[in-house]
Subunit: 446 residues, 2 copies
């Protein structure tokens, strides 16, 4: 069985801790006893739970290009089926199947389980997940869905209504979109369960659909032809057209931590980061900034601060912020990359300064900038650098100018920190990457 974590798009709902380069699933917010006092993110928590349940053998992630570096930073060496652009969940499932076939040794007869990257749940969920393949084969169904047994008539989720047979699984009678509360109560009386976005199928099911569309289930081909896939959800493209499905219920803790209200409820600590909370009730502070936050006399408030901005919201009204935040037109100020982190610390009309941290041993891309000069000021650690055809050692206290057009690459010998000051047009997209690695570039130096 191949297991795929579907990593959704960027969430503005958890701004300012999520941005285009850091979706909510990467926010480090959970305490994990095994990890000492370190916080871990949703995706780290889920991958840990999959490992604990023994479902990590053929595990990979399907995610957008912009998440690649943070995935490797948080999870190390894990396979990634890359969506070249965002086109909804059916294309994501399709390219995941292609990835399994092209790069993981899967055949069309193998089963695949898809699950979201951000469930907040317990081990029962993963146990049920592990049983889906067996249920699929035993029943002869085309798709096995997992359903969460409702703990209340929620209006936030879609429902799956089963037929009335009552074994380990049931065939699916119908799907219902988010109902009103009255309808939800009726659905529950018919043993309906929440649709939690978990489905298991034979890879051939998707390959057949692709072939009908005139497309090939090959990863490199689909990556290059991604725009030919329809922008449609897996639910509309596949589930609604399938008449041979079963649903396997899971009863246990399961939450959608998609709003600050829900997320703050799961924060064990009152504060994360530099913060003082005084005479407050049911209030949470998450501060990624260096400067302190003082919360005084508050009730039911969430405060979240990052280099991107500061949010202060009443907890139960935190669903609004997505729309408010989309009115802000600011570039991401903090980015996690494969090789380290980037933080914008100062900005002007014609200049921009970033504090760069590189992990020991990491190498940047080989690149140049067309419209700006850069001044680098080394703050900490040691590295090696090639600028033009000159190779040099760098260390704390040194500074150098990188003229526009000059090729450069840097390697962190120890953990390395420097300020990167852009002078000219402050556009972080002005980077021209050259496809040489360190060893190739080194041969050209004097």
């Amino acid at each position: 069985m191949y297991t795929v974590l579907l990593s959704g798009g960027s969430g503005k709902r958890l701004w300012p801790l999520s941005n285009d380069l850091r979706s909510k699933q990467y926010i480090k917010i959970f305490d994990e006893a095994e990890q000492g006092n370190e916080q871990i993110s949703m995706v780290q928590r889920v991958v840990g739970q999959l490992k604990d349940s023994g479902i990590d053998k053929n595990l990979f992630i399907c995610a957008g290009n912009s998440q690649l570096e943070i995935i490797h930073s948080q999870l190390g060496d894990i396979g990634v089926a890359v969506e070249p652009e965002r086109r909804d969940t059916f294309p994501a499932v399709a390219i995941s199947c292609a990835y399994a076939l092209s790069y993981c040794g899967a055949t069309e007869q193998d089963c695949m389980v898809i699950l979201p990257v951000d469930p907040y749940t317990d081990e029962g969920y993963f146990k049920t997940l592990g049983e889906l393949e067996g249920c699929l084969c035993e029943s002869g169904a085309d798709i096995a869905l997992m359903g969460v047994v409702p703990d209340c008539p929620s209006t936030k989720y879609g429902y799956i209504v089963p037929n009335e047979n009552a074994g380990r699984y049931s065939s699916v009678l119908e799907f219902r979109e988010k109902p009103d509360e009255e309808t939800a109560k009726q659905l529950i009386s018919r043993n309906a369960v929440f649709n939690c976005g978990v489905f298991c199928f034979k890879i051939s099911l998707i390959c057949d659909i692709l072939r009908n569309m005139g497309l090939k289930a090959d990863y490199d081909y689909l990556y290059a032809n991604y725009e030919k896939l329809p922008k449609i959800s897996f639910d509309y493209q596949v589930l609604e057209k399938c008449d041979n499905m079963i649903v396997v219920p899971f009863m246990g803790m399961w939450k959608d931590l998609g709003t600050w209200n829900a997320l703050a409820d799961e924060m064990q600590r009152e504060t994360i980061g530099n913060a003082i909370v005084e005479q407050c009730d049911n209030t949470r502070v998450i501060n990624e900034l260096d400067i302190p936050i003082v919360a005084n006399g508050l009730e039911n408030i969430v405060i979240a601060a990052s280099a991107d901005g500061i949010l202060v919201t009443e907890k139960t009204k935190s669903e609004n912020i997505k729309n408010t935040v989309s009115r802000l037109d600011i570039p991401p100020m903090y980015e996690e990359r494969r090789w380290g982190t980037l933080k914008t610390v100062d900005r002007g009309e014609t200049n921009l300064t970033r504090h760069v941290k590189m992990f020991a041993g990491m190498v940047s891309s080989y690149h140049y900038h067309e419209k700006r000069n850069e001044v680098w000021v080394f703050l900490k650690g040691t590295g090696e650098m090639i600028l033009g055809n000159m190779k040099m050692s760098v260390s704390a206290g040194m500074s150098l100018t990188i003229p526009q057009g000059a090729n450069h690459i840097i390697k962190a010998v120890t953990e390395l920190e420097f300020l990167e000051v852009h002078i000219g047009e402050p556009n972080t997209n002005d980077i021209h990457r050259l496809s040489f690695d360190w060893d190739e570039v080194e041969k050209t130096t004097v």
Copy 2:
């Protein structure tokens, strides 16, 4: 008549917009129609009101050393009687008298009016202020006080109780410290008024006291011997010992804006700076940071953010914050100086980066650092610099290293911005100033 604005000490009560180098009276928070859309500070507002009332002829400020640069930045060329250290209000009044005698051409027979720098009041207050000298002379009293006619039995202020004669002024029967509400009501029934810290006297009154202490009413002498002055308030040292005082009542708007609660009520705008307020009630945001603040669904909240930190407080509970904030051990991150501003933008254990802005034409001190190297990266504008015995022109894009021990001085030709990166021991007090000006230093360059 000499008019002295007594500028009190640093307030942590309005943290993070006040710090040791910026007291609350310098926060730019008021709209002023005449100034276009610019905000002005309390001290700018009061000085403007004094000018409008024609009481600005012999006007100066008494303030601590650390406020000198911000005073000149906000008020331009105004006289300052400098307290070399904080020693309460009697020493401040004493050195103000000495300053008037030594540097403003005053004689001991001249009158002086002292007022706090931060009253939030209207023109009637300044009209009454202008009448104090006449009342003092006419009555033959030693001290004329101004009293504010109470609008409620407040327990926050001291009261002045008059004798029962009912002319433009009355002689003073007694002082009462902050009373309970019941006592306040009784005091008001006896025509008592709030003590608002405004007093008028002949300068000789203070000179006599100083002579009795064996001290001279000379500015340079008192500045050098300031520690010989007792740490005592003007009220205890002078008022309580005086039995020939009058009080002149003022009836009108008068407020103490010493807490965020009071201050926020006078803010005409819902937000100052980069902020979005959504579905909020009676909420104010003051943001001096570059990054946006989003306030969502809040009631009765004040949010204030500066480079020093972020405060989120329930309005009526804002009196607490002074104690909470004194638990924070952080150096000021934003400083206003005579020649421009300094903002700390990045900090590490062995490095610190400040964004420096200098006004056109301004010159730094001539100085060196003992324990750090500095790298300067020029972002904007042009300047001239002397480093060691080298003179050079600097402009955007340039960078240079200032080794520890190397003397340097810089002059802004146009408005000039640069990053000052400290590498080594990040201690902003490691600055050794040399008493040479630009012209003297220039002669030594090659």
